[in-house]
């Protein structure tokens, strides 16, 4: 814990440092400019002691300045003069936390430091919580917006279709409309499921288990082989795991599932050679996963945004804008990294690395 002590008498500085150096890291300054530059260079300073009688400025003046420029360190005034005016000023202008009388005793100073530290911690916790709240609030805002589009949008379409159904006599036309209605309902359902993923990623705790990639990939292969056959997309899988790998299985599955589902979804419709390649290599406690497709690719200017909540770069396919955001959140939980490489109309490759825990 770093503490700054400002006093124009070098003897006092030496004495202060000598008695407290074992418990704390003491920085000293003999004048105000030196004190300010010390605060600039050591933003982690938690407590500032300052003598009231300094040449040029008083301790109160100094505190009044740093209250604005360096608000985090807790301010404690040291003085031999106990006139009421100085005390009032110190409290009102300097907004000090404590007032320690000179000559000080070690017990006084240590108790002041310990109390100041608690105060400092409480303040920083408050600001961390505030940031968290602000982030949650921003996401809620995006949520409200997304709910109107991604839930009310399909609903209004379905409602319109029901209204129209009364006027359609042609069975083929009715079937076509039912098919489109079904797609809208599925989209809604996917949205709700992703919202559930989103929620559990934000809240849940880590559940570390041993992971057998062969087992996970076999399950995924069974699911995606169906897509592969129906949409004529070649699906190649390659898993190499000779060592034990430990991490949380649920977010890992989410990552693989989202990347694979995107790889199949965003294929070039009329292309002859459609393929999705999945490879997993576990080596030196790191799993390296590649998901490579021959799809539509991502525009260079959009790549930076694809991991943002509710971002969609493509209008042709139904997407909620949750998928890659959830992937990113899941990787944060797994302590993993993701890189993307994409060429428009050629394909996209995602590279994911996840450490074994």
């Amino acid at each position: 814990m770093k503490i700054l002590y400002v006093d124009d008498e070098p003897d006092n500085l030496v004495g202060f440092k000598a008695s407290l150096r074992l418990d704390y890291q003491i920085l000293t300054a003999v004048n105000i400019p030196q004190a300010i530059s010390c605060l600039d260079n050591h933003p982690e300073i938690k407590v500032v002691f300052c003598d009231q009688r300094m040449p040029g400025k008083t301790g109160v003046d100094f505190f009044e300045d740093i209250r604005i420029s360096h608000p985090l360190p807790v301010r404690i005034l040291l003085t031999a003069y106990t006139d009421v005016e100085a005390i009032i000023e110190a409290i009102n202008r300097g907004n000090i936390f404590r007032y320690v009388k000179k000559p000080w005793t070690e017990a006084d100073v240590i108790s002041a430091i310990e109390e100041a530290n608690k105060f400092y911690m409480a303040n920083s916790m408050l600001s961390v919580k505030n940031d968290e709240l602000q982030r949650a609030y921003d996401e809620l805002n995006k949520f409200a917006y997304s709910v109107s589009h991604d839930i009310r949008g399909p609903l209004s379409g379905i409602l319109g279709a029901i209204n129209l159904a009364r006027e359609i006599d042609d069975v083929e036309e009715m079937k076509e409309m039912l098919y489109l209605m079904q797609k809208s309902v599925k989209k809604l359902d996917t949205y709700v499921l992703s919202m559930h993923d989103y929620y559990s990623l934000q809240r849940g705790e880590l559940k570390i288990t041993e992971i057998d990639f062969n087992e996970i990939i076999d399950e995924l292969k069974a699911i995606y082989d169906v897509h592969s056959k129906i949409n004529k997309v070649a699906f190649k899988v390659n898993v190499k795991q000779d060592e034990i790998f430990r991490n949380d299985q649920a977010p890992l599955r989410l990552v693989l599932n989202n990347l694979l589902s995107n790889a199949f979804k965003y294929q070039e419709k009329d292309s002859k050679n459609k393929s999705v390649d999945l490879s997993v290599d576990v080596h030196n406690n790191v799993a390296t996963i590649y998901v490579k497709d021959t799809g539509i690719g991502i525009l260079g200017s959009h790549v930076g945004e694809i991991f943002n909540l509710f971002y969609r770069s493509n209008s042709l396919e139904v997407g909620s804008g949750f998928g890659l955001y959830n992937v990113k959140s899941a990787l944060l939980k797994l302590n993993g990294q993701i890189e993307v490489n994409s060429v428009l109309h050629k394909g996209t490759t995602f590279k994911v690395t996840i450490p074994s825990i």
């Binding site: 209004s156 209204n163 770069s313 209008s315 042709l316 997407g319």
Partner: protein, 139 residues
């Protein structure tokens, strides 16, 4: 006097495009309706082949919330066309009106000369019919 229009529907949702086409067919027999699921493509098509002067104006049913190129961007770009192109089109905003966040932005679109009115989704025959009643005498 023949008062039929032709229509352009711009909406990223397949179902909404289908609905718009059906509602138009049922309301105005025998009209030409072109569907675009991507607003940029619609804009390009209009730029390449604008409606000729003196012909029936084209009504553009425009969705607002679309990925990549949304309705706001479409109106902004459309406004850049020369007047002799713009005056042959009537834009109707077709949108869900729920989020307070962009409701004001949507109403602000009415300040553009090309944007005639706003219809809340889903489109029905009644809504389209009353709109057509309202614009027909002005042409």
């Amino acid at each position: 006097m023949n008062m039929e229009f032709s229509f352009i529907v711009i909406d990223d949702s397949e179902l909404d495009c289908f609905l718009a086409r059906k509602v138009i067919e049922l309301t105005e027999k025998g009209v030409v309706t072109r569907i675009f699921q991507n607003a940029q493509n619609a804009l390009d098509a209009i730029a390449e082949n604008p409606v000729e002067k003196g012909k029936q104006p084209t009504i553009i049913l425009l969705d607002i919330q679309m990925p990549e190129f949304n309705g706001f961007q479409f109106v902004e770009e459309f406004e850049k066309f020369p007047l002799e192109v713009k005056e042959n089109y009537i834009i109707i905003i077709l949108s869900i009106l729920s989020s307070a966040r962009n409701q004001n932005d949507i109403y602000r679109l009415l300040t553009h000369g090309t944007v005639n009115s706003i219809i809340e989704k889903p489109l029905t025959r009644d809504k389209l019919f009353s709109f057509l009643q309202q614009v027909k005498p002005t042409i």
